[in-house]
């Protein structure tokens, strides 16, 4: 008898567990990354649900790599688990071409698509149609400590070169025992060290592939860039730099341990926030360095936008577009400014934000950010058959970039020389590109 009631109880709880709650017809499931701007939006959704009481929002927040694997599996199999997905400028061109995304043609009349910064709008469109709406965007810049530069008698040029950066790193490292002259990404991954190295190589005029899709890791630009990178990291970088990503460098910079840091423009809002940073008062902003004269895009060879898109498998496309229109509108920027202050507004998407005096007054990095984003042109050209700057928007790049990134990390940690790493990278790339049918 006792066993029977136990069994019955267990069965009952299983049945209760299995009753996956029926979804309301207008509940939108939104997949998103965990970063400050996205979390802030989750806190402000009341404003949206008040305007649209018939739409409920269900948030699924995941770590970037988990999110990417999760949404890619779902969209490739037509799983239909999400109505709105947070994706980047890497995915949009590939997914739009595969017809995995719905065109955003129902954002409303007052959305003002023309106000989106042209470089970003271009990166998220195919044949002139927007396939994802930018939530926040970034390019790359140089962040440096004005106090340390002053002490060392250095002045950051308006357009810094890598040679100047190397000299400055040496001077400051020698003068300050507990400060590293430079902090750069070393953690392997296509979106980690390769994002930085892709941008640096391009500042020396080198691309990932030439017009015939031949990998370029054996070119002069890549050789100079990687040699200089390894030298900077080994001589003036923090120990164990091969495992440092954005967050590790952010921690070091915020604790005053880095004199210079070249990374995404979004870093500026973190290092200038006194709640997080011990050096908030003494940060200067300059363009990403150039390796050659008149380097492409004036050094800003990085463009990324976390954007909202509707997968073709969604059954609630209309409601999804209503939400995207709200989240990426001018009105949303005003809402954040009103509730949390202008410094917390998601940056880099709308021209009108950079004409707003209040914003410019509160965000000392605004001008430099806008300049970098405007300079960054990711489109393909004669000598560059792919879309993208710090990445190449082809499906093969994720795997290829990560393998090459591991070789570069091995060079930083001293397991191989820069030349060996480049040679190995070139071999890997040629093999992968041949296998994928780009080259014979």
């Amino acid at each position: 008898m006792r066993y029977r009631s136990l069994l019955l109880g267990a069965c009952a709880s299983l049945v209760a567990a299995s009753g996956a709650s029926a979804q309301d017809a207008t509940t939108l499931t939104i997949a998103t990354v965990n970063n400050g701007d996205m979390i802030r939006m989750q806190g402000l959704t009341e404003d949206f649900t008040e305007q649209h009481p018939d739409i409920q929002l269900e948030w699924v927040t995941l770590e970037e790599n988990v999110l990417r694997q999760r949404v890619t599996t779902d969209i490739a199999t037509g799983g239909g688990q999400y109505d709105v997905m947070t994706i980047g400028t890497y995915e949009v061109p590939i997914w739009a071409e595969n017809e995995w995304l719905l065109p955003l043609d129902g954002l409303g009349e007052d959305y003002d698509e023309e106000d989106l910064i042209p470089a970003i709008r271009e990166a998220l469109s195919m044949d002139g149609t927007l396939y994802a709406a930018p939530f926040y965007a970034e390019s790359a810049m140089t962040l440096y400590r004005t106090d340390l530069f002053e002490e060392a008698g250095l002045e950051m040029p308006e357009a810094p070169t890598w040679d100047f950066i190397a000299e400055a790193a040496q001077t400051i490292s020698e003068a300050n025992e507990d400060v590293y002259g430079i902090c750069l990404r070393g953690k392997p991954g296509w979106g980690e060290n390769m994002a930085f190295l892709g941008a640096m190589a391009r500042s020396y005029g080198a691309n990932y592939f030439n017009a015939d899709w031949q990998p370029q890791f054996d070119s002069e630009g890549w050789t100079t860039a990687v040699n200089q990178y390894v030298e900077l990291m080994t001589n003036y970088g923090p120990p164990g730099a091969a495992s440092n990503g954005f967050n590790e460098n952010l921690s070091l910079f915020n604790q005053g341990r880095c004199a210079m840091w070249m990374d995404a423009t979004v870093a500026a809002s973190f290092v200038s926030n006194p709640d997080e940073s011990q050096v908030a008062d003494s940060v200067g902003y300059a363009p990403f360095p150039c390796g050659i004269e008149d380097c492409p895009n004036s050094g800003a060879n990085w463009l990324w936008a976390w954007s909202l898109a509707v997968p073709a498998s969604s059954q609630k496309a209309e409601a999804a577009q209503t939400f995207i229109s709200w989240a990426t509108s001018k009105g949303y920027l005003d809402l954040v400014a009103e509730k949390e202050g202008w410094a917390n507004v998601p940056p880099g998407t709308r021209t009108s934000l950079y004409e707003n005096e209040e914003y410019l007054a509160e965000a000392p990095f605004a001008e430099q950010t806008l300049q970098a984003i405007q300079n960054a042109d990711p489109s393909s050209g004669e000598d560059k058959p792919y879309v993208g700057l710090q990445f190449a928007a082809i499906p093969e790049f994720q795997g290829l970039g990560t393998s090459v990134g591991q070789q570069m990390a091995a060079a930083v940690s001293g397991n191989m020389t820069a030349e060996q790493a480049l040679q190995a990278a070139q071999q890997t790339a040629v093999r992968e590109m041949t296998r994928a049918g780009y080259i014979q």
């Binding site: 299983l14 299995s18 965990n34 995941l62 199999t77 915020n254 973190f270």
Partner: protein, 276 residues
């Protein structure tokens, strides 16, 4: 007669035991401590061990942002559900293998274990498609099925080892007294192997609780357990170590408490049959 052990030796062994124990527990302790720090203290160099401004702010933020209770209930449903279904299959299977072995029993046991060698990601797409077609994505029933199948080989193995220790004559005697097969299992075998079953249940619950591949890939919101709760606090841009630690502490708390109270059974079960 027990050998006399000198006090000095006892002290040395106790000290070594504590040192090893603390070393193993240290990452968990550090996570718990970090969860009470501010984000700035969490990343400070040199690290602050006990002397920092203790705050509950991270727990408040985590509570505000996520529905912890829903994630926890899903973890409980999934781990208990998969363990219960697992027992329904594992007990009869282990019984048959222990008491009526065939020449192929050992091969079957090894074959069952070999399924654990397959990397999970290799079958992600087929399983995702099956789940999609049967409408099982983001459902607790579907996940219970997957978790149960993942843990079944280990459950069968563990129970098989315990059952082998029980003399077949006792079951024979029960049969002579007229006990049916179900009575033989429920009234004779089960009570005799309670420690074995208990430790199998505990291990299966812990494995299902910690499973972080399928639970992340096959759920979105309704069936999402604590593993997805933790994943939502890991950030690529921005330092949220203190909040991540608070979320992790909340996620491991139930299993830590369960483990603490049942450590006797767990240790006894895991070492049962180890010394013959």
């Amino acid at each position: 007669m027990a050998r006399a052990i000198s006090t000095r030796r006892k002290l040395t062994f106790t000290a070594i035991g504590w040192a090893v124990g603390l070393l193993i527990f240290f990452p968990v302790l550090w996570t718990i401590l970090t969860s009470f720090k501010t984000e700035l203290d969490a990343i400070s160099i040199p690290p602050k061990f006990l002397f920092f401004d203790w705050t509950l702010e991270n727990y408040v933020t985590v509570q505000e942002r996520s529905n912890y209770f829903r994630f926890m209930m899903n973890s409980i449903y999934l781990s208990l559900g998969s363990t219960f279904v697992g027992l329904l299959f594992a007990i009869p299977a282990a019984w048959a293998m222990a008491f009526s072995p065939t020449p192929r029993t050992k091969d079957v046991l090894l074959w069952m274990l070999s399924t654990k060698m397959l990397p999970a990601v290799g079958v992600l797409i087929p399983i995702y498609l099956v789940f999609r077609d049967f409408g099982l994505l983001d459902s607790r029933v579907g996940l219970i099925g997957v978790l149960f199948l993942i843990n079944l080989p280990i459950m069968v193995w563990m129970l098989y080892t315990y059952f082998k220790e029980i003399p077949g004559e006792i079951l024979e005697a029960a049969r002579m007294d007229g006990a049916s097969l179900s009575k033989e299992i429920t009234h004779v075998l089960a009570p005799m192997s309670v420690p074995g079953i208990a430790s199998t249940v505990l291990l299966s619950v812990i494995l299902a609780w910690n499973e972080a591949f399928w639970t992340l890939n096959l759920t979105t919101s309704d069936a999402a357990p604590l593993t997805t709760f933790i994943a939502s606090y890991s950030s690529p841009q921005g330092n949220f170590y203190a909040k991540l630690s608070a979320a992790s502490t909340l996620a491991i708390a139930p299993i830590l408490i369960l483990g603490w109270f049942s450590q006797k059974q767990l240790v006894r079960g895991l070492t049962f049959g180890a010394v013959k």
